[in-house]
Each structure stands twice: as structure tokens, then as C-alpha cells.
């Protein structure tokens, strides 16, 4: 191709000595303190939480109606009182046990169905059909079957929890698995991985962003369901978890305690997000460049 630019011809060839990688050493940009603080997620989130608490306090004071909406400080006071006398921790413990059981079983069943859906076409149809049918059903719909199968008490609540965890987790897992790059799937098949090995070594890591979202949604809905389910199913005297605590206090119009109960749910939510899901994301999908 002929060179047609006049000046290009006049440019001279130039040569440089290069430095070895060792000679260069690390070069780092300087960052100001403010922007470093701002760059810290925990710091920003703390700011958000403080702001929310302030808004709550101010709005509640403005409403001045502690039958409906107590202030943040009233809630906090109630929270500490109930923590101190051991009521809340006991209730939380009862709820958490049931919750984790239901969550765990729900995830296992979701895993099972999703894997089934991977292998056979009828499994996939089953997953799609069952999800479309049962996912919209409220917990009360399950009450009769729960009573017949499990009777009253924790087992039935676990059953309802499974129902609330299972479908969103399965939906997310299925969609995640189906979105795994065909090349990666082929890589797995190339190594002759068995079904479970494929799931464990290829599909789960590759679909992790979807899976984590499913786990988050499932977790949240397990809580919602737990609190509602404790009301529908009733409890034996003296037992009862957080949901029951909230209902009891509501019945006695101890609204600050009701909010203390809800506040506990919020705190647990924040803790689980910050300590578990966040860490999981940091160590996996972000580290692997699968999420920006």
C-alpha cells in the first residue's frame, strides 16, 4: 500500500532502550483520604444506616403516634430491654433454628429438582410446571397438608418455609444453569465429568451470581414466611419465636416491642448480608471477575 502522506515519509524511525520489569517496580496512584474513606463500602453503608435511623426518629416524632409508629429511640430501648431480659435472644434462637432448617431443606430440594431438570426434559417440564403452579400459593394453602403430614409445631413451619425457599431458589438456579456458556459446558463434558461433578465443578461456580441471588431472595422470603406462619400454625405455650413475639406484643399494643422484634429481623438481615452474602460475593464472583 503506497504511503501518501507527505509528513509520514519525513518521520524518522526511532529506537529505544527498554527497562526490565524489575527495574520499574510498582507504581501506585495516590488517593486522597476523603476518597479513600468514600471508597470504603462499610463506611458508606454506615452513613446510610445512620441516615435511615435519623429519618425514622424524626418522622416518628413528627407523627407523634406511638400506637402506630414508635420512634427509633423507643424501639431501641425496647430492643435493649428485651435483649437484656433474655426474651428476644430466646425467641430469635427458636426462630433461627426453624428458619435454618427450612432454608437448608428448601435449598436441598431445590438442588435436587434443578439437577433433575438438567438431566431430563421431563424434569425441566416438571420444574417449570410445579414452579408456575405452587410458587404463587400462599402458606395457608399448605396448611391442611402440613397438618396431615406433620401435625402442629415446628415441622409444619419448616414445611411452609421449604415452600417459600424452594421455588425462588430453584428458579434462579435453573435460569443460572441454563445461562452457563455452552463452551464451558462442553469443557465439562469433555472431561467426562459425571452429573454431580458437572454440577459441582462447572455449573455451580459458573452460575454463582444467579445462585447467590436465589439464596438471598430465598432467605428473605423464609423470614417473611416464618413470621407469618407462626401466627397461622399457633404455638405450644412458652415456645414461639420472633413471629409470635411480634404478635403477642401487638395484641397487647406494646408497639415498641413489636418494632423491636422487626428491628431484630432487620439486624439479622443486615448481618447475614454483610457477613455472609457479601463475603461470599467478594471471595467468589467478584474475585473471579464474573460480576463487576
Amino acid at each position: 500500500m503506497p504511503e501518501t502522506l507527505a509528513d509520514a515519509a519525513r518521520r524518522q524511525d526511532v529506537f529505544f532502550e527498554t527497562q526490565s520489569a524489575e527495574a520499574i517496580g510498582p507504581i501506585e496512584k495516590r488517593v486522597s483520604f476523603a476518597s479513600r474513606a468514600w471508597g470504603n463500602g462499610a463506611f458508606r453503608k454506615t452513613l446510610i444506616l445512620i441516615a435511615l435511623a435519623v429519618v425514622w426518629e424524626l418522622y416518628a416524632r413528627h407523627l407523634n403516634n406511638d400506637l402506630l409508629f414508635p420512634t427509633f429511640i423507643q424501639t431501641l430501648t425496647a430492643f435493649f430491654n428485651e435483649m437484656a431480659d433474655g426474651t428476644l435472644p430466646r425467641r430469635v434462637w427458636v426462630s433461627l433454628k426453624v428458619l435454618l432448617t427450612g432454608y437448608g431443606i428448601g435449598i436441598l430440594i431445590a438442588a435436587f429438582i434443578t439437577v433433575l431438570a438438567l438431566v431430563t426434559r421431563i424434569g425441566e417440564d416438571l420444574l417449570e410446571t410445579l414452579t408456575a403452579m405452587f410458587n404463587p400459593l400462599p402458606a395457608i394453602a399448605l396448611l391442611p397438608l402440613a397438618l396431615i403430614w406433620f401435625g402442629l409445631g415446628a415441622q409444619s413451619i419448616v414445611f411452609v418455609l421449604v415452600h417459600s425457599v424452594l421455588w425462588p431458589v430453584a428458579l434462579n438456579a435453573n435460569s443460572g444453569f441454563k445461562s452457563v456458556s455452552p463452551t464451558l459446558r462442553m469443557v465439562g463434558r469433555n472431561y467426562g465429568l459425571g452429573l454431580l461433578a458437572t454440577v459441582r465443578q462447572i455449573l455451580i461456580p459458573a452460575a454463582l451470581p444467579s445462585l447467590i441471588t436465589g439464596l438471598k431472595v430465598g432467605w428473605a422470603f423464609a423470614w417473611r414466611t416464618l413470621i407469618a406462619a407462626e401466627l397461622v400454625f399457633g404455638v405450644s405455650s412458652g415456645s414461639g419465636g420472633l413471629g409470635w413475639f411480634i404478635f403477642e406484643n401487638k395484641n397487647q399494643l406494646e408497639i415498641a416491642n413489636v418494632f423491636a422484634g422487626l428491628f431484630t429481623v432487620i439486624l439479622i438481615g443486615l448481618a447475614v448480608e454483610g457477613l455472609i452474602f457479601r463475603t461470599l460475593e467478594e471471595r467468589t464472583v467478584r474475585r473471579w471477575g464474573m460480576q463487576s
Binding site: N65, L67, L68, L143, P144, L147, I148, G151, L152, L231, V232, F233, G234, V235, S236, S237, G240, W244, F247, E248, K250, N251, Q252, L253, E254, I255
Partner: protein, 310 residues
């Protein structure tokens, strides 16, 4: 005979006799006297329907609740489970309270008012309101006020009424909420269920399936004896009963306030079912139940047929 008895109770001061049974272990005591070793499992429900399902699935022996649910399940199970009342344990009035100063009688409610009650159409409050409406507006007008009723649980109803921030201007409720509301100067009473029915009527009863009843005669006997003892105790020492209740329920009421509620003349503690037939007839006439008892004795097991029920 069973060796564990599963009884459900709900919330509120009206369940005081059951609380005493639990706290003082009276059932166990009376069962022992009859030579039975019974342990009692107390369960709590927040409403009638969960309880009904529990009893029908064999997870519960005694359910407790208002007259409405009792009549409903009695009517529905005539061909199979034959659920009947074991006994009543109180008679208490229901109050319709309002914050609207213009409302003196239920005829004064307008479309702008909203009456909160536990369950539109099906709760005892709703039925009572219908009876009152029929009396006030004439035959066939029972549903006249239904369009301004709205379902809210007792506490939510009270909060809605007292907050003054919602369109709820009236609340049809029971003790202690009813009394609590009346303590507020903005609130006054429009309707009292005793007036509507012409006298005291049963508020809460216990019920069980015929199968359970027939298989456990001694348990029933022990239970009724225990309940009688509890009621006697309430009458003899209301202050102590109130104290026990406040402690057991962790109520924010003081024992004195609770005692005051317990001893109010309109709140009777009795096994005798009252005005059951009035409710049943009315519910039958509106189609809410499909069977009509000829006497209150149809609705209750024979163990209390000696009482002067109605």
C-alpha cells in the same frame, strides 16, 4: 383414654379460666383424682380457622373460640366428625365504639364511616352487627351496614381507631380492647351486644369431636370439674386470679386493672351456654349455617345438658 390432652386457647382476658387451668394444673389434678395420668399440652392460635383445621386433622382435642366458629363447625360436621361444644366458660358483651361524635345509634353511621371488626360477615361481631341492623332497619336489612365494615384484627383495629389517621371511625370489639378504647375521651359506645340479644350471651366455648368425646369420658369429666374449680376460684378471689393472669400473659395491664375487668358485672364466668340458639337461628336465617339446632343441647355434648342453657 388419651394421656395427653391438647387444648387450644387464644388471646385475651376472656380466656382467663383456661389460663388458670394451665397455671394451676387443675386438669392434671382432677384427672389424677379419677385415676388418670394426663399431661396437658396448651397451644395458642390467633384465630379460629387454623384451630378448626388442627382439630379436623386430629392434631388438637379441644378448640376454643367464639360462638360463630362453634356454630359453623357444628353445622359443617354433622355428617362426619360431629363436632360439638364441650362447654362454654364465659359470657361477655361486645362493644361497638366510635370516635365520631355524631353517631349515637347505629342508624347514624354514614358511608364516610368505617367499622372495623375481626372478620367481615363471619365473626361474632359481624353477626351481632347484622342482628342489630335487622332490628334497627327492619327485616331483610341485616346487611345494611356490611358495606362499611372492614376486617382488622383487634389490636390493628384499636390502633386504627385511636390513631385518628385512618378512615376507621368505629370498632366492634371485645375486652380488653373495648374497655381500653373507652378510656380515651374521644371514644364512646354505640352498641352493646347484650342489648342487641336482650341479655348476657356466651362469648367463648370449647369444642371437640364426638369421637374424642366418646372415647375419653373421664378426661371430659376431669376437664369440666377442673373448669368449675377455676371459675369458682375466679369468683372467690378475683384479685389473685387477675394476678396469675397478668403474670402468665405478661400483660401490660396491672393486676388491679385486670381484676376490675374480671369483676365487672357484665362479665360472667360460667359454664352455661347462653343465647346460642338466638345466634344459631339468625345465622341459619342468613344462610351462614345450613343446619338449625332445635335446642342448644344439639350443639353441646350431654355432659352439660343439666345446665340452664339457652
Amino acid at each position: 383414654e388419651t394421656n395427653t390432652l391438647r387444648i387450644a386457647k387464644q388471646f385475651g382476658i376472656s380466656y382467663l379460666p383456661l389460663v388458670l387451668l394451665e397455671e394451676q394444673k387443675l386438669i392434671e389434678k382432677h384427672a389424677k383424682e379419677l385415676g388418670l395420668d394426663v399431661s396437658v399440652e396448651w397451644l395458642r392460635f390467633t384465630g379460629g380457622s387454623g384451630m378448626n383445621e388442627a382439630i379436623l386433622s386430629g392434631n388438637l382435642d379441644f378448640a376454643s373460640g367464639g360462638v360463630g366458629p362453634l356454630l359453623t363447625i357444628w353445622g359443617k360436621t354433622q355428617s362426619n366428625f360431629k363436632v360439638k361444644g364441650v362447654t362454654s366458660f364465659n359470657a361477655m358483651p361486645l362493644f361497638l365504639n366510635t370516635t365520631n361524635p355524631n353517631v349515637k345509634t347505629i342508624k347514624d353511621f354514614t358511608e364516610k364511616d368505617k367499622i372495623a371488626l375481626p372478620a367481615v360477615k363471619s365473626s361474632i361481631q359481624a353477626v351481632t352487627l347484622q342482628i342489630a341492623a335487622e332490628k334497627a332497619f327492619g327485616k331483610g336489612q341485616a346487611n345494611k351496614l356490611d358495606s362499611i365494615t372492614i376486617s382488622l384484627g383487634h389490636p390493628d383495629g384499636q390502633a386504627a381507631l385511636l390513631s385518628g389517621r385512618s378512615e376507621v371511625t368505629a370498632h366492634f370489639t371485645a375486652a380488653p380492647f373495648a374497655y381500653d378504647e373507652l378510656a380515651d375521651p374521644r371514644v364512646h359506645k354505640v352498641l352493646d351486644s347484650y342489648e342487641v340479644l336482650g341479655g348476657p350471651h356466651t362469648f367463648n366455648s370449647l369444642w371437640a369431636t364426638t369421637k374424642f368425646h366418646d372415647e375419653n369420658p373421664k378426661v371430659i369429666k376431669a376437664f369440666l370439674a377442673a373448669l368449675e374449680e377455676a371459675i369458682a376460684f375466679i369468683k372467690a378471689d378475683p384479685a389473685k386470679a387477675a394476678e396469675i393472669w397478668v403474670k402468665a400473659e405478661k400483660s401490660k395491664l396491672t393486676p388491679e386493672q385486670a381484676a376490675a375487668l374480671i369483676t365487672k358485672p357484665e362479665n360472667e364466668w360460667t359454664l352455661t351456654p347462653k343465647k346460642i340458639v338466638d345466634y344459631a337461628d339468625f345465622m341459619y336465617s342468613t344462610g351462614a349455617i345450613s343446619a338449625k339446632p332445635t335446642s342448644w343441647k344439639d350443639v353441646f355434648f350431654e355432659d352439660i345438658h343439666h345446665l340452664p342453657g339457652s
